[in-house]
Symmetry: C3
Subunit: 327 residues, 3 copies
Amino acid sequence: QSSVTLFGVIDADVKYVKTGGLAVKKLDSSGLNTSRFGVRGTEDLGGGLKAGFWLESEINTDTGVAGAASGGAFWARRATVSLTGDFGEVRLGRNKTVSRLHLEDFDPTAFTGLGSVSAVYSNLGSGNGTSFGRADNLVSYSLPANLGGFYGGADVSAGEGTGTNKGQSVRLGYKAGPLHVSGAYASTSNAADTSKFKLTSIGGAYDFGIFRPSLSYTETKFQSRKQQIVTASVTAPLGQGQLWAAYTDAKANAAAETTVTGYTAIGDAKLFAAGYIYNLSKRTALYTTFSQLKNSGAARFAVAGAPAATANGLKSTGYDVGIRHSF
Amino acid sequence: QSSVTLFGVIDADVKYVKTGGLAVKKLDSSGLNTSRFGVRGTEDLGGGLKAGFWLESEINTDTGVAGAASGGAFWARRATVSLTGDFGEVRLGRNKTVSRLHLEDFDPTAFTGLGSVSAVYSNLGSGNGTSFGRADNLVSYSLPANLGGFYGGADVSAGEGTGTNKGQSVRLGYKAGPLHVSGAYASTSNAADTSKFKLTSIGGAYDFGIFRPSLSYTETKFQSRKQQIVTASVTAPLGQGQLWAAYTDAKANAAAETTVTGYTAIGDAKLFAAGYIYNLSKRTALYTTFSQLKNSGAARFAVAGAPAATANGLKSTGYDVGIRHSF
Amino acid sequence: QSSVTLFGVIDADVKYVKTGGLAVKKLDSSGLNTSRFGVRGTEDLGGGLKAGFWLESEINTDTGVAGAASGGAFWARRATVSLTGDFGEVRLGRNKTVSRLHLEDFDPTAFTGLGSVSAVYSNLGSGNGTSFGRADNLVSYSLPANLGGFYGGADVSAGEGTGTNKGQSVRLGYKAGPLHVSGAYASTSNAADTSKFKLTSIGGAYDFGIFRPSLSYTETKFQSRKQQIVTASVTAPLGQGQLWAAYTDAKANAAAETTVTGYTAIGDAKLFAAGYIYNLSKRTALYTTFSQLKNSGAARFAVAGAPAATANGLKSTGYDVGIRHSF
């Protein structure tokens, strides 16, 4: 009677990363998809009602460490219970925010690995990253599935006495045939709960069959600081696999470029990443990625997994070859 | 040949808790049953002999943290291997003590959530809570099942060089038809292994069909300090669910009400809790709970999940609405 | 389509251990086999190619703690993804080194429990134990299975900027009919990456049916320090089980017996261990072990799980009785 599914991904890559003069060769984890281990299930309650649960834990294949990312909890990727019906879905627990779900839809890497667009996202000193990540104490609602292509959701995370946890996000999208458009808005409090980090983003993609271009624009704001991030990308089926490339241009405003007590200035950055995924089967793929990030002004961004920048305006690059196996 | 069962509970509630003037709204975990993930199995060895194992890990649905309670071990709820036969069962590993099993049988919440009677249990400065919780290094024995309603068990936990781990408990009960009576005795050492915390408890319940009243009396003692705890409760089937209410009166003796170096005085407390569980299916339920705890004298108890009391004699209350899904 | 196997071992023993005048009685874990919980699977990719993954986490049955050994990562025993074909197997992730696999093949305890030969292995001040343990960032290669009894493997672990992780090992063996011979070589860097710990080992065993003698010789070296370890052992089927005994003689050279800044001198040691494993079924066994370690010179070794030696040249002994259940 209990229908439980054990699922996961084990992904490992051999990686070369360099920021400025610092270079490292690595065996790393999660080059294409984040390595994970999970348990999930649904129960039909009758009358169109369903209960479900989802537990998901990150794995670092290179070291065996579990749940290190996203704050260190074992089930940090997801721990939810939900009720689904004609009204949509209500989900409780730790989970991705809907604004994060929007953002990763318009990054060919889905915010994962060397080419992840997340490399150039700054919290602008707000101390809060749930709007492009995951949140504790989340109550989220999703629209039902049968709205002729329209979909959407909203979530609120309870502060429980601290601004750090407090936030909300909404998303509305349309996906039908070759077309996909989506918009999201999120706001999260700083620890003192005195001001809010705000994120507004729109994205669109069209699948021409031989290739699928995608474009997104995101604006973030905290007090007087602002960041504007444009990502243009394309994916194309090629042989038994998929080719992809993405270009991101991130600009900081003058306030964001100014260091003040408790805040380290950021600058502008341009990120170019490309890769090829070769499918050995539906579950197993070999892949390769190239990524290059150029900082200007006070920017010290680095591609994921690369050494931290030790000076302003350095270049950060990476290559990898890896294997991803899902179960 | 390997018959392994994956099982668990995901439980989340929206909660309002208040102690004195401090109030918090929360998305919390484990309002009705403790959220958990486990693996268990048995093997038939022939001749009436069975081997079995049980691994169980707590989950905080709100944050994704695993195994936080009971000292932080991942499999802190249970990690045992056992052998069962005509002689009964011998079980080795971390587990609930039999005195804890006795106590939770006479609390409608089974020591879980807002209404848990455990809120008023003090260790009286002994530093040891295994007699109403779980213990490491446990060797436990249970009587066989076919004793005409009689059941019982005993356990010993090895000190391994420190008094903190050292303890033993016994339990004897009778459960047949509508009647259930049980008695338990436990003793655990303080860290220095110089004196013992002792717990004696009896409980009884009778199921009249339309309702089931239950009564228990527990006495704890450490050096000259004493606590006496009476719990009267009732559960009643109502519609597609169950109504329950419990009233607990905890009294401390004069010695327990006196602060000395290394011990913070406790006082008297009265706890009233009630709730309704609405079953959507055998595995999934919606529930609501109300709980109120009144401290007097030096008492600073609080209902589970509420802010800690900042002064003597405050009132602590809580409400919640939640969902529990088991798999 | 996803063929995932949940597997594990729960092993607990009642143990008495003593080093010098310090004695402890314990309920302990992993007396015969290390308690563990794992998930693994393979996928047939066609053309003789297979993908596979393996996740394995240690369990302390006595406390419920997961993954404590081998550095503390949850999946510290193993987290790998692999590709197998006519060419052999390439495996990426955290895993045992091939030199460790060689060593445990010639210890009847497979480096586990009271009698483990690992008790007398020193890292000679190199700070590195991956050559007789497990390593992060491991890329390993195994020869294919069909080489007429010959087998072998090699691995490299990436330093990723620190000598602590850096190492490699190779192994070549022959196993056919009653004969088994194997040789291994490993080298690992110290933290500063200025010198290498080196291990060379050969072993052989022959199965006469009524008993199987085994002999191994291992030499380790770090700077001017050396250790020579000879293990002679025998296993014999007896009734519904297996009897085993092992004798190990470990000698340190003069440099290893000299304490210098940052290095504590070791000395010579003789370890005798014996045990009986009684199989209740293929999956479940009762067992008993006796182990005695005699230190001489500056040696302060102790049998696994015994109190650390507080002076040079003490004797360390242990007895246990336990149960192991696999699933």
